[in-house]
Every structure is written in C-alpha cells, then in structure tokens.
C-alpha cells in the first residue's frame, strides 16, 4: 500500500460518501444559501473524480465555515480569515491533494483580504469559494465588505458610508486565473462552475452569492439572475483580461441595482500555477514533499555533511 493511496484512486464515487456518517444537526437557518454550496460541491466533486479522502477542505469562521462539518472530507476549519494560508501550504506540501478553501465575505474579503490578494497573486492551484451573502451571518447581521452603500445594521446605524468591495475585479487584478460568480438559486450553473473551478490549474475564485434570510431579509435577493455566458446581451471574451475586467465592472455595479449577473468572467488556461512556477525555478521538489517522510529509502541529508565545511 502506498502512503497516500486515496490520492488518484479511480472509481465510481457516490455523492453520499461526502455525508458524515453521523450527520451533525445543521446549524444553518432554514432557507440559507449555504445549503446550496454544500449540495453543489457534493455534486461537483464526484464528477471531477475526486474522493473525500484525497480532498482537503479548509474553511474560515462564520456560518460559511461550518461547511466543513457537513462535507465529509479531510478538513481544516481554521480561524477567521485564515483558510487560504493554511490551504496553500497544504497544497505546497502535497500538490496531489485536491485543496479547496471556503469562507464568507467577511471572512475572505474583510479580515482575510490580504491573504486573498496574495493567494490570487501567486495563482496557487486551488479553488476558493466565497459565500457572499453581503452580511456577517454568524455574528448576527453586521455590515460586511460587500454590503451595499447605505446598508443599515446595528454597527452601522446610519447606513454604511462605504462603497462595497468588488471581489471579482479584485481577484482579477491580483492575478487569479479563473474568476466566476454563481448563485445559490442557480444550482445547475453552480455545479458546472465548481467542476470547472476544481479542474482548473491555478487559483479559481468563485464568488458564490448566498442569500441569508435571517439577516438580509429578502431571501429572493439574487433572483432573477442572468448567466452572462448564455445571454446575447453580454458579448465578451472571457480569456481577454480587458474584456473580462469590463464585464466584471458592469456586473459588480449592476448587482447593487438589483441585476444579478453570473457566469465565468475570466479564464486563463495558460498561466502556470504557483507550484509549477516554483518547480521550474527549482524551489520545490518534483515529488510531493509530504511523501518523503514515508519513504524509508530516502536519504535525509544532514547539516554536517553539507554546511559544516563552510564554518571551518
């Protein structure tokens, strides 16, 4: 048996395999958009052919972070905003793992904003799903970085004076090689986009619009939606940065006018992932580093043999 025999196993995978044996009582509210992300992921992973045991799901903190409790893979429920640095190190340590990071808009665009920019910039080969409900859910309804300007909450009683952050444009500019937006109300598109994102070699950012009926009362806020890739009204080349950027700008403005545009906005198949780049310049081993610790034949170098001479 190899060390990580779950990795690369080819077989029929039942989506129920991702459901925990003893299913914890879901703590999500009825009607929460987060259920749709869970469902879409359970559908996408078997279609991509990745098993629960070769998948590492890293989440942040928030209602969104609970995803780890309901999707039975190897998991790391980290701390608020920090799913990405944990996830990308795991990917560097073992590039054969299927690494997925997930969190909320507060988690990913607020407290974790710096990590988001830099992970996109480095173009790590992973999928990052942001449950964008334009609100802090778990801490009971405070304004988030994607809440619309003027949004009133207990912590912004006079209405937010801040422009909402534009996550799609942000990740494009930072360097993500796949940027898409989907919505909980659009399960088919969500599944398809997640499949593409997981299969993509590079940083795939999926802004997942999830309604929060508890704190953003309007549970129908993301309908009707339009898939820009299917609509004749929106012609653009998603492999072209300039056109993609323009389309994102339109989308991000339209959202706050009540027009929900979704779809794949940017896809760059040519940009090598960070791991590939690092290997190319000789800063990363060809074989997964994690396997080395299990290889009885591997000769571990000692400092004595290598460095001691230069100190004599």
């Amino acid at each position: 048996m190899s060390t990580f025999s779950a990795i690369g196993e080819e077989r029929e995978i039942d989506r129920d395999e991702y459901t925990p044996g003893v299913e914890p009582q879901p703590t999500w509210c009825p009607g929460c958009g987060d259920f749709s992300v869970l469902k879409a992921l359970k559908q996408a992973l078997p279609e991509v052919g990745r098993t629960p045991e070769e998948t590492l799901l890293c989440t942040g903190i928030g209602c969104s972070g609970k995803l780890n409790s309901y999707l039975d893979t190897y998991g790391f429920h980290t701390i608020h905003g920090r799913s990405l640095p944990v996830a990308r190190a795991a990917k560097l340590a073992n590039p054969d793992l299927e690494v997925i990071a997930a969190g909320g808009d507060g988690d990913g665009y607020g407290i974790g904003g710096n990590h988001f920019i830099h992970t996109a910039r480095e173009n790590h080969d992973m999928t990052y799903i942001v449950f964008n409900n334009e609100i802090f859910g778990l801490t009971k309804g405070q304004t988030s970085p994607t809440s619309p300007k003027g949004h009133k909450s207990k912590t912004q009683p006079s209405g937010s004076a801040k422009e909402p952050l534009k996550p799609l444009s942000m990740s494009l500019n930072a360097g993500a090689s796949y940027v898409a937006r989907t919505a909980a109300v659009n399960p088919n598109q969500a599944k398809e986009i997640l499949i593409e994102a997981i299969e993509h070699d590079g940083f795939a950012h999926v802004d997942f619009l999830t309604q929060c009926p508890t704190w953003n009362k309007d549970a129908r806020q993301y309908v009707p939606y339009i898939d820009v890739n299917d609509s004749d009204d929106y012609e653009f080349d998603r492999t072209d940065r300039v056109e993609a950027a323009e389309m994102m700008r339109t989308t991000e403005e339209a959202l706050y006018d009540g027009e929900v545009l979704t779809g794949r906005f940017y896809v760059d198949e040519d940009r090598p992932s960070y791991g590939q780049e690092k290997r190319q310049i000789g800063e990363m081993p060809e074989e997964p580093l994690a396997e080395r610790y299990w290889d009885d034949d591997y000769e571990w170098e000692r400092s004595y043999d290598r460095f001691v001479g230069k100190h004599e």
Binding site: L92, L289, R302
Partner: protein
C-alpha cells in the same frame, strides 16, 4: 594580562565591511588554535552610522564578550559613500574613534585610518592616550588601499596592520582570502595585506606594544557558528523542510539561512504577506504531513498568536522561533533584550498548551532547535524556540563533532494506512483523531490523502472525531488530555540535559539566569570564585514546562539567589517565583535593559554590591538591582 586574551574591536560605518572583515579575522584566529567569541553592535540603519564588532580570542574557553577590549581598529568614518556620486550620508565623522575609547583597556592599542579620521577633533585625546598608556598608530590605510587596488580594500590593510602589531603571521588570513575571493580582487588584496604588514613592522617597534595574540591549540577542529546558524542546522537535521516567514530583525537571519538551503534539500521556503499567514502556512504544511517552522521577532510574533492557538487546539505540530529584540512595539530593532518572555509564554487566548525553550549558547541553540522539533512532533504541540539578537548574531567557535548527529525526520505518532485500517473506529469511515483516552495525552494522527484517516481539524472545541462540540464532559476530557501532554513533556525533558550549571556544587550563593546571558554569568561565577566568593549558577532553558524541582533544589541549596536577565520588569524572576510558589525572600534581581547585554564585570559588581555587601548599589553600570521580596 594582555598575553592571555586578545579582544579586537573593528569600528566604522554600516556598509564599511565590518561584518565580513571581522568574520574572516575571527576564523583566522580560530584556525590558529584559539577559542573565539564575537559581539556585534550596530545601529538600525543600512548605510552609515557607527558600528563595531568585537572578537575575543583566548586559549581558554570564551563564553562572553568579556569586559572592555584591548585593540581598536578604527577603520571608517561612519559616512556611507555613494561610489557613483561621491556623496556621503551621515555626519558622525569621528565616532569610530571617539565612541569607542571609554571601553579601551589600559595599555591598549589604537590603529586608525588617518586618511579618514582626525583625532584632534576629539576632546582631550592626547591626555587620555597618555593617562591610559595607549599605543596609537595613525596609518593611511585608505591611501594604501587606493594606491594598490581600491579604496574599499582598506579593511584588508587594517587587518595587515593588526597582524603586524600583535605578532600574528598572515598565513591563516591569506588562506581565507584565497578561499573566498575571485582572482581579480585576490591579488591586490594580498598585496595590500602584505604591504601594510611590512610597513608597520618596518616603521614601528612592535615589540614595545604590550598586546599580542595568545597561542593555543585545539584538540579537534572548530567551527565558527552563530546562534542563527545553529538553529537552522538543528532544524534541518531534525527533518524540517518547510519554512514560511516575513522579514523582521533579527529573526530574518534564520529565515535567510533556511531559505538559502531548503530548495537544495528538496524543501520549500515561502516569504508571505504577513506573520499571520506565515505561521498559518507552517500549520497547513504540518497538517499535510511535513515538518514545518515559522518565526519572527516580537511584533511579528504578536501577529502569530492566532495561528499559534490554532495549532494548540488542533494539536498540529509546529515550531516557531522568536528572536527577541528590545520592545515594546518596534522598540530597538538591532538591540537585544529578553523581555518577550511573558509574551511568548502567555500570548493567545484560553488555557493554552505550548512548549517554550530558551537555549543559552550556540551549542544549545543547535540541540534545542532539534529538541523543539522532536517535542513538537512527538507530542503534537506548538513549540517555541526563544532566543535573542545577541545569541542569534554572535559567532562562536564550537567543536566540529558537536554537529555530527544523525537526522531524525520522523513525524511522531502518525499512523500508516495499514494501521489506520486496524483502528476499531475507522470502520464507520470516521477516524477518531482526538480520542479521550491516550496514555500521555497524545493521540495518533492521520495525514490528508491517507485511506481511512478522514478527520476534521478545528480551532473550535471538538469531540474525538474532530467535530465541534460544546458538551461539558467532552470539553473537560479534551482539555485534560491536552494538558496531560505537558506533564509527559516535563518528564521527557528531565531525561534531556538542558540546564547549565557552573561553580562549586556546595556554593553559598546562587545566580539564576536564562537564555543568552548564561555564558556571561558563568564567566562572572568563575571570577567571583577566584576572588573568594562562593557562588554557583544555573542557566535554565525550559521556560514551559518549567523545571520546578530542579530550580527549587538549586534555590534551596543556597542562602541567596541573584536572578540576572535583560528585562526591566524581572519577567524571568516572576516566572521562577510563580513556579516555585515561595522563596521570594531569597530572590533578588539584576536587570539590564539599555540595549546591550551584560558584561561579566557587571554581573560581578552587581553580585558583590547586592549580595555580598548587601547595599544593592550596582552603580557605575546601567544595571538595576531589585531586592528580594517575601512571597
């Protein structure tokens, strides 16, 4: 007196090549059979500003920088030059000479570059020379270098002049130059070296100079190593192949050494966006089955308290190094202090569990770096290696055999897939990663990608499968188990020799210290005993878990104890008192927090004033005495 040791100080401006010149000269002295110890003093700026490095060389063991020095090579003028424009920065023209005179011993030697420095600007220079019986040699080092090569080679001229004056032949210096320099610059440098040497021997009566290089012989080959080197090599030998960091002085040294070596060893180094990310990356890599480390200095470590807590709660092994400098906030970036002790012990919320080790010497830095990794992985607990700018930067001769150790890349209690298959609870597809009933608190782990080992790691309190739980019974069981690990680690540490004792076992008085002050205290202990005071010392390395029994036995065995540390608030004394629970009336503090480490004489004076004479007045130095207090 001067025959027994040479303490050579080279001074100039940052960017004058002080570091490389002194490093080579230290190596030459070491190769000639001497024990060496270097001390670096530098301001927090890149170019210009006054800086010096001191090399103490003796046939006897050297454990500290010593007090004062006996040979000054004033090389530069603290101006930084821009070679293109001839521009200069800084205005501290005579500092390399004027700033250093206070500590130059009687009968000492001064060599200065008369091309750059003018002693007539120093008040009472001639009187002081006469009073102190100094031997002064003005030499045009800059002119000489310019004539035969380039101006920057004046450091070589300075070394040539030094060798002539202390009666050291050029053999070792020349060898080192041949090893390090490309041919193009080697020849002019050799010429400059020899010319300066000959000139001095021709022009001056060198016999009259009382300072000479001592002679010595090593039984075995020595290495010139810094604390940062030793920490890095320890990590590599223990199988660490992943590092993530963000630069901050003085931790950057370890980060750099590791980064320069890891790719060739098949490892990975990542410079990331901030220290939160750095520590989180180390946690992520370790979770995926790699030996990983991160680190920083005070302010950066503050950012790491979050991922540190995550590592504790998820029982992910990780090693963090914390290189202390004077704080709070950015404090004094290039000056040592030990005042991050409490920060490192207590940062992060909750009843947390971690290990903190504070090596006292370069040798210990290597051993305890290895130990930190072993403990982290065997016990699945974050381990912090706490040291300071002094230990990180000092270059010391260490016997080569000290580093001749086998690698240990084992991950600790990690199950193979075969073993996972035999776990009773993996039948239902759920591996119980965090079982309640583990002998020493450590439950075996699995690694993502292994069949049958699926589990959830979470920073929330969790049940044996890893799922979030707020059940009171589970909470108590999990906390108790995690805490139990510390007892096992304490017992384990008792089998490892981490404490350092000096002085007679039946001494009347004691000195307690930790970290980089250990060698200085030991030297002071020797001097006090030579002077007829009966005193011994204990250098403690385990900060958490604390060696309570051992320290208690030490305190019990003496009448009074002086606790020596580089803090203003007596943090280490507080830790001792907290762990011992009594003996407060026996413990006094000698503190120093002016940015410089203790010198042995300060410890001797402080001890005599405080303990022997009992008046607590350690005046004359920038040290503070805090008398004993009841519990």
């Amino acid at each position: 007196m001067t025959d027994q040791e040479l303490i050579w100080r080279i001074s100039g401006g940052s960017g004058d090549g002080i570091a490389s010149t002194s490093q080579n000269f230290a190596k030459a002295l070491m190769r000639s059979g001497l024990n060496v110890f270097t001390h670096r003093h530098y301001p927090s700026r890149i170019r210009g500003g006054h800086t010096y490095t001191e090399i103490r060389a003796s046939a006897d063991p050297v454990r500290s920088r010593g007090d004062g020095y006996n040979f000054l090579l004033a090389l530069g003028d603290s101006f930084a030059r821009n070679p293109q424009e001839g521009a200069v920065y800084g205005n501290e023209e005579i500092k390399p000479l004027s700033e250093n005179l206070d500590e130059l011993r009687e009968g000492g030697v001064i060599v200065y570059d008369e091309g750059l420095l003018d002693p007539s600007e120093i008040p009472n220079f001639d009187e002081r020379v006469e009073e102190n019986d100094w031997h002064v040699f003005p030499l045009d080092l800059r002119g000489l270098a310019r004539d035969m090569g380039r101006e920057v080679m004046r450091n070589t001229a300075g070394v040539g002049a030094t060798c002539a004056l202390i009666g050291m032949d050029l053999e070792h210096v020349e060898d080192l130059m041949r090893d390090a320099m490309p041919e193009k610059i080697l020849d002019p440098n050799l010429e400059i070296l020899e010319t300066a040497y000959d000139q001095v021997r021709e022009e001056y009566d060198v016999e009259e100079v009382g300072v000479s290089v001592p002679t010595g012989e090593h039984e075995e080959t020595q290495l010139l190593m810094s604390g940062s080197d030793a920490i890095s090599y320890g990590a590599i030998d223990e199988g660490c192949r992943f590092i993530a960091g963000y630069p901050m002085t003085p931790w950057t040294e370890v980060f750099t050494i590791m980064t320069q070596n890891l790719p060739e060893l098949g490892g990975i180094s990542e410079q990331v966006e901030d220290e939160i990310a750095a520590a989180a990356l180390a946690v992520g890599a370790s979770h995926a089955g790699v030996k990983a480390m991160s680190g920083s200095s005070g302010g950066g470590f503050a950012l790491m308290s979050e991922p540190l807590g995550l590592a504790e709660m998820t029982e992910t092994p990780v090693v963090l190094v914390e290189a202390m400098r004077a704080g709070p906030s950015t404090g004094m970036p290039t000056k040592p202090e030990q005042s991050d002790l409490e920060h490192v012990l207590y940062t992060s919320q909750g009843d947390s569990q971690r290990v903190v080790l504070a090596p006292g010497t370069v040798e210990e830095a290597y051993e305890q770096s290895r130990l930190a990794f072993r403990l982290a992985y065997e016990y699945q607990i974050p381990t912090i290696l706490l040291y300071d700018q002094k230990l990180g930067g000092e270059l010391v001769s260490v016997p080569k055999s000290h580093f001749d150790r086998e690698p240990n890349p084992t991950l600790g209690k990690t199950l193979t897939e075969e073993e996972l298959a035999e776990q009773p609870h993996s039948a239902d597809g759920k591996f119980h990663r965090f079982q309640h009933d583990a002998e020493d608190g450590v439950t075996p782990r699995s690694i993502p990608g292994q069949k049958g080992g699926r589990f959830l790691a979470t920073g929330n309190e969790h049940d044996p499968t890893g799922h979030i739980s707020e059940s009171p019974d589970n909470r108590v069981a999990q906390i108790d188990r995690r805490t139990q690990k510390l007892e096992a680690i304490r017992a384990d540490l008792d089998t490892v020799d981490t404490s350092s004792y000096a002085g007679p076992a039946d001494a009347e008085y004691g000195i307690l210290t930790f970290g980089s002050q250990q060698g200085t205290v030991e030297e002071a202990v020797d001097r006090l005993n030579d002077a007829g005071v009966s005193v011994k010392s204990l250098g403690v390395s385990d900060m958490l878990p604390f060696p309570t029994e051992e320290v208690e036995a030490f305190v019990e065995s003496v009448d009074e104890v002086l606790v020596v540390e580089m803090t203003a608030s007596g943090q280490f004394r507080g830790l001792v008192q907290k762990n011992l629970g009594r003996y407060g009336e026996k413990l006094s503090s000698l503190l120093k927090y002016n940015g410089n480490p203790f010198e042995p004489a300060e410890v001797v004076d402080g001890f005599e004033a405080a303990i022997v004479e009992g008046d607590g007045d350690a005046s004359g130095h920038q040290t503070t005495f805090v008398p004993a207090a009841g519990d």
